[in-house]
Symmetry: D2
C-alpha cells in the first residue's frame, strides 16, 4: 500500500478484516507499506500490522512477491504510481478521485486497457459497498421502482464552515484539483450512476467560494492572538451545484459542499421512478427508504428497510439482523470484491474507465461554471 494517511487506516482495516468474515479465494498479505517519511511509515506499519516498510513506491512496484498495489496517496500522484504498477503487471486499487486532471485520468484508463491479460485496475468508490446502497441498486435494477426519472443527490459536510479553518492543500487548486466538487461530488455522481445504471451525458453547474482567504496552515499555529495571522487564497470551490441529464432519460440535481452547517457526512440520494422510489442518507447508513407505488394506495409510504438481513448484500458474513455495520465495513467489502474478482480473472468494478467517466462529468461541471452555466456535454 502506497500512502498512510486517513485512507491508509481504512484500507488497512479492509485488508485485515475481509478474510476474517468472508470466505475469500485468496488471503491478502499486508506485506509492504510505503511512505516518504521513514519513521512515520514505520509507526503506521506497526500500528496497522504491515510487515515491512519503504520510502519509495518504486520499491513496491519492482518486487516480484507483490501482486497488488493499493494507492491511497493524494490525487496528484495517482497517475504515475498506477501506470507504473500496471506496466509492472500488478493489480491496482486506487483511491478516488482517479486523478486531479482529466488528462491524467485518461492516461490511467489507457494504462489499464493496455495492461496484460488478467491484470486489473479498480477505483475506490467504496460507498457502493455500503449494503443499503448496494441494495438500492439491486432494487432499481430489478425494476422495483419502474422507469427511473428523477435523481436528487447531494454530499454535504460542514468541516469548512469556520472561516478560520486553515488553508490546507485541499483548498489549493494546484494540489487538490477542485474543492467540494472533486472531493465529494465525485461520490454523489458515482453513486447516482451506480444505482440508476444510467450515465450522465450533460450538465449545467455553478461553483461558489464563500470564504476566499484562510489562515496559512504553518503560520497560524502557535501564534493565535499575538500577531497578525498570515492568510492565503482559497482557490477551489466551497460549493458545487449542478444538474444533469442521464442517457436513460432521467434528470438529476447534484450538490457538493463542505460548508453545510450541521451535516457531517450526509451523502444523500433519492431516486424516483414510475412505480416507486428509494431514499438513502449515509448519516443513517444501515437503512434504506423504499416506496412501492404498486401496493394498495392506503398502505403506501416510505418503508424504512433496515438493510441488515442475511439476504441483503454483504450481510450474510456479518451479524444477526438489526446489528449495524459502520463506515469501515465498506473497505472490507471492497477488499473482498477486489480479491474475488482478481482470483476469478474478472474485471473488478468500478474500473478505471468508470473512474474516468466520473471525472468527465466533474470536468463538464467546471467548464459549465466557467461559461455562465451553459449546458455542457460530458460524453
Amino acid at each position: 500500500m502506497i500512502g498512510h494517511g486517513f485512507m491508509g487506516a481504512a484500507h488497512s482495516q479492509g485488508w485485515r478484516v475481509a478474510p476474517r468474515f468472508h470466505d475469500l479465494p485468496a488471503r491478502p498479505e499486508m506485506t509492504l507499506l510505503v511512505g516518504r517519511n521513514a519513521s512515520g511509515v514505520e509507526a503506521s506499519a506497526r500500528k496497522w500490522g504491515w510487515e515491512q516498510t519503504a520510502t519509495d513506491w518504486r520499491a513496491a512496484v519492482e518486487r516480484d512477491d507483490i501482486d497488488v498495489i493499493d494507492i491511497v496517496t493524494p490525487g496528484d500522484s495517482h497517475a504515475e504510481i498506477a501506470i507504473a504498477a500496471l506496466q509492472a503487471g500488478k493489480h491496482v486499487l486506487c483511491e478516488k478521485p482517479l486523478a486531479n486532471t482529466l488528462e491524467e485520468a485518461e492516461a490511467m484508463a489507457a494504462a489499464a486497457d493496455r495492461a496484460g491479460k488478467g491484470v486489473f485496475a479498480m477505483v475506490g468508490f467504496t460507498y457502493r459497498r455500503v449494503p443499503a446502497a448496494a441494495f438500492a441498486r439491486d432494487l432499481v435494477q430489478s425494476g422495483a421502482i419502474g422507469e427511473v426519472r428523477q435523481v436528487r443527490s447531494a454530499y454535504l459536510q460542514d468541516w469548512l464552515v469556520d472561516a478560520e479553518a486553515p488553508l490546507t492543500w485541499r483548498l489549493q487548486k494546484e494540489h487538490a484539483g477542485s474543492g467540494a466538487l472533486g472531493d465529494l461530488g465525485a461520490h454523489a455522481v458515482d453513486l447516482a450512476q451506480f444505482i440508476t445504471g444510467q450515465r450522465i451525458t450533460g450538465v449545467t453547474g455553478i461553483l461558489n467560494t464563500f470564504v476566499h482567504e484562510r489562515p496559512l496552515l504553518d503560520r497560524a499555529s502557535g501564534q493565535a492572538g499575538t500577531v497578525a495571522v498570515e492568510r492565503g487564497n482559497v482557490t477551489v470551490d466551497d460549493l458545487a451545484l449542478f444538474s444533469g441529464r442521464f442517457d436513460g432519460g432521467a434528470v438529476g440535481s447534484f450538490e457538493a459542499t463542505r460548508m453545510s452547517t450541521g451535516r457531517k457526512n450526509a451523502l444523500r440520494i433519492e431516486v424516483a421512478g414510475s412505480t416507486g422510489a428509494i431514499s438513502f442518507d449515509l448519516e443513517n447508513m444501515n437503512s434504506l427508504g423504499f416506496y412501492d407505488a404498486t401496493l394498495p394506495g392506503t398502505r403506501q409510504g416510505f418503508t424504512n428497510i433496515m438493510v441488515t438481513e442475511p439476504a441483503h448484500p454483504y450481510l450474510s458474513a456479518w451479524w444477526p439482523a438489526g446489528h449495524a455495520l459502520g463506515y469501515e465495513h465498506g473497505f472490507t467489502h471492497q477488499a473482498k470484491d477486489f480479491v474475488e474478482a482478481i482470483a476469478e480473472g474478472r474485471q473488478p468494478e468500478p474500473s478505471f474507465a468508470d473512474g474516468l467517466q466520473v471525472q468527465k462529468v466533474l470536468h463538464g461541471v467546471e467548464r459549465s461554471a466557467e461559461a455562465d452555466s451553459i449546458w455542457t456535454q460530458t460524453v
Copy 2:
C-alpha cells in the same frame, strides 16, 4: 370571494375560523360568493356559509357594502379581477401565482401601487404562515444561524406520476402558464426569500417533461378499454431544476416537481449559515429542525423543535403545547394577518410587488431553460 374550487374551501375556512380564535380588530363577514355556474356556486355558498351568490365577479366589485375581494380563480383571470377591484377601492387578496404572465403580474403590481391611500393588495403565499416556517424566518432574521450561505429548497408532489393521469388545464401552457415551475416552484422561491430575507438575482435552470401525451379529460371518461383513448400534448414542465444566487451572497438550489414518487406535499427547505442551520418539511409541518453551531461541540445536532409553544408565531391563539395544527390553519393566519394590516392601515405582506418579484424569478428560469441553461439575471 371570486371562485369556489379547492382554494375556495380553504379561504372560506380561513375567514370563518380566524375570528373564533384570534382577537381581530374587525370581524370578516362572508357576504358574497361568485362563480360562473349558478347552481354550483349556490351549493358551495350553502356548504361554506356565504350569505349570497353571484355569477359575475363585477357584481362584487360594484357593491358598496363589500370592502375586500378575495380572488381564488385560476391564474388567467387574476389580473382583470384584481385590477378592477383595486380601481374600485377594494382591498384585494389574490391567490398565487400572481398571474400567468409577467406582463399581467406587472400590471397588477402597478395597479396596487396606483390604488388609493389605505387600499391594499396581498398575494396568498400561505406557507409563510405555517408557524414553523414563520419561526424559521424569526430565527434566521435574529441571527441564530449567522450569515446565510446556502439554501436547498424543493417542492415535491407525485400526483402526475401515472402516465395515464388525464390532461387537465394544469398541463396546458395556455391555461396554466407553466407546470410544476409556477404551481410549486413559486412556493419554493417565496419561502426561501421569506426565510433568508434575501432576493434571488440570477438563475440557471432546466425544465423537463417526462410524459408528453396524456388522455384528454372529457374523452377519456367512460370509455376506457373499449375504444382508443384520445390523447393530447402536455405543453408544460413536469420538473423544474434551477440554481440561484441571492443578493445577500447566499446560493441556492431549487426543485419543483409533481412526479416525485412517494412525496405528497413535500415543501422542503434547508438553510445553512455560518453559525447554524434550519431544516423544514411541510410533510412534517409542526416541526422545525434547528442546528446551533455555537453550542458545545459534543451537544450539537439538529434539534427537532415542535413549533407548538404559545410563544411561537400564531400559537398563542390555539391549543396547549404539542397539539398539532394542520394545512388549513395557514389560511386562518392569512385572514388574521390581512384583517389586522387593513385595520391598521398597513400594507399586508406579501404585497403584489413581492408576488411580481417571484414571477420574475420563474420567468428567468424559463428563459434560461430555453437558452441552454445560460445564466440569467432576474432583477
Copy 3:
C-alpha cells in the same frame, strides 16, 4: 354545551366546522352555552359563536328546543348533568373521563341504558378519530398484523416537570379523582382497546408522585420573591405504570405521566401481531407506521404511511393527499360521527358503557398500586 374552558373551544370548533366539510344528515345549531360566570360565558359565546348563554345547566336540560347536551365541565359534575339530561330525553356527549369515581361512572352508564328509545350517550375519546388511529384500527381489524400479541401504550406530557408549577385542581384528588392516570392513562387504555378490539381483564401497576408539595395557586401570584410561598400537598399521581392482559390473549404495558421532560403530547401506541405491527405517536399525528411481515424479507420495514389519502378514514372530506390535519379535527370528526349516529338512530361509539369499562381498568390500577402491585382483575 355546558362548560367553556379549553375543551369548550375544541368542541365549539367541532360543531362549527363539521357541517362545512362533511355532508351531515342534520345541521348542528350552536344554541346555548352554559357557564357559572355570566360575563365569562357571555364572552366565550361571542367568541365561539353560540347564540345564547345561561349560568345554570338546568336551563339547557329543560328547554324543548335543545336536542343535544354537550358536557365539557370538570369530571366531578359529569354524572349529575349527564343523568339529568338523559332523563330529560336529550342526547349526551360527555368529555372523558366519564366520571371521577367508579360509582358515578356506573350511574351514568345505567342512566344511558335506561334512556328512552333513540336517546343516546357518547363519551369523548376523540383520539379514536385521528385518521391515523382510526386507520390503525382498520388495519388491525382487517387482520393485517395477524393475531395481536403485544401492546405498548404511553401518554407522555411534561407540563408538570417544574416543581414550582402551581397546585391546580388537577393535582388534588378530591377534584380530579386521580392524576396522570385518569387524565392521560384513560386515553392510552381506550386507544389500545379500540385498535386491538380486545378488552383489558387484569392489571398490575404502580403510581408515583415525584413532587409532593407545590405552591398554592392563588397565594403564589403577585408575591414571588417577597414572602414565603405557601404550599399545599399534591394528592394525585405524577406517573402511572401498569401492565395488563387482554381478553384476546394480548399483553400490554401502559404509562401515563405529565413529567416526561420533552414530550409535549406524545400519545404513543405500538401493537405487534403474528404477521405485522403498527406504530403511532400523536406528536406526529398524520402518520402511521405499519410493518407487514408478509412482504419479501429484504423489503420489510416500518412503512411511514401518511394517512392523508382520500381513501383513509375521514379524509375524503378534506384536502389533497399530503395536506396535514391537526388536533381539532378530531372534534370535527366527533361531531360528524355523533350527528350521523343520532340521525340514523344508532348508538354512537364509544358509549357510556365503554367509558365505564375504561374507568374500571383505571380503578384496577389504583387498587393494585395500593396493594403492593398485586394482580387485580378489572372485569
Copy 4:
C-alpha cells in the same frame, strides 16, 4: 477464549482490532481458542486468527503463558470456568448473563472477590461501550438532565415471531435459565443502571409465553411437509414486562421480548430528569437524543446528536465526524477498556458484582411474576 459461537466472532474482532486503532498499554495475543468439537474449533481458529486450539477449557486455565480467559460459552458453563480461571490467577472476561442461576452468579462474584491482588473479572455488557450510550451516561452524570426521575427501557427483537421457529436451547429453561428476560432484559437493566447511576431496589413484573410448543430442532429438519413434525414445550418466557424503583428515587418501566414484530435489535432507553432528557435506540446506534430544558423555550426540542465527534467517548481513535461505527465496535472498546484496566491494576467495569446485581433484579422479576406480580425487593 473458551467458546466459538456468534459471540466468539465478535470477541475475536474486538481483540484483533483494538490495538490497531487504540494505543494500548499491552498488546493482546490471540493464543488459544477452545471448543469441544476439534475440527469445528480448528476451523474457527483459522478463520478468526487464533494461534492454537484445544478441546478442553482446562488446557487454557492451566497454561502459564495465558493471562486472560475470555468466556463466550452458553450461560450454564460460565460459573465453573470462571471460578477455575480466577483461582488459577487469570483475569476473566465473561459474557453476560453472568450465570443461569442466582446461586452460580453469587459463587462467581465471591470467586472474583477472593481472587488474588491484581486479578480481575469483568462481565460483558458491551452496549455500555456504544459511544452514544457512554455519552448518555456522561451527560446524565454531569447533571445535564438534572435529577433523574423516569426511565423507559426496552429491548425488542422479533426472531421468535414465527410460531414454527424451532425449539432451540434458548427456549428451554434448563439450558437458558429464562427467555427474553435473561437474554435481553439483562441488557435493558444494565444500561438503565449504567446511565442513571442508580440501582433498582424492587420490581413488579409479568412474564408471558405466546407460543407454547415449537418444532423440535433435530426432528424438524429435512422432513417438513412429509411427516408430522414433533414438537416440544417452550419453557421460558417470550415476553417480560416489569417496573422498578431505583435507589435514587427514579421509577422505570422495562420490557424484553423476542416477538416484537419488526423490531430487530431495538434496545431503547429514555431517561427523563428535572431539567432534561435523553433518548437512545440501538437500531440507530450512532445517535443520541438530548433534550435540554434549560434552553430558551422556543428553541427546546430533542437534539439528534450524532455521537461521532472526536470528543465523544471512544471516538478519537476512529474516523472523522459523521462516519458511523457498528455493532462490533463495542467489542473493540471492551477489549480496550479491559486491557487498560488490567495494565493499570484497576478493576474493570462492570465487575462480577455488577453482573450479580443485575441477576438479582431479573430473579426478582421472576419471583414477582410467580406471585401474582407482588412487589418484590431486589436488594
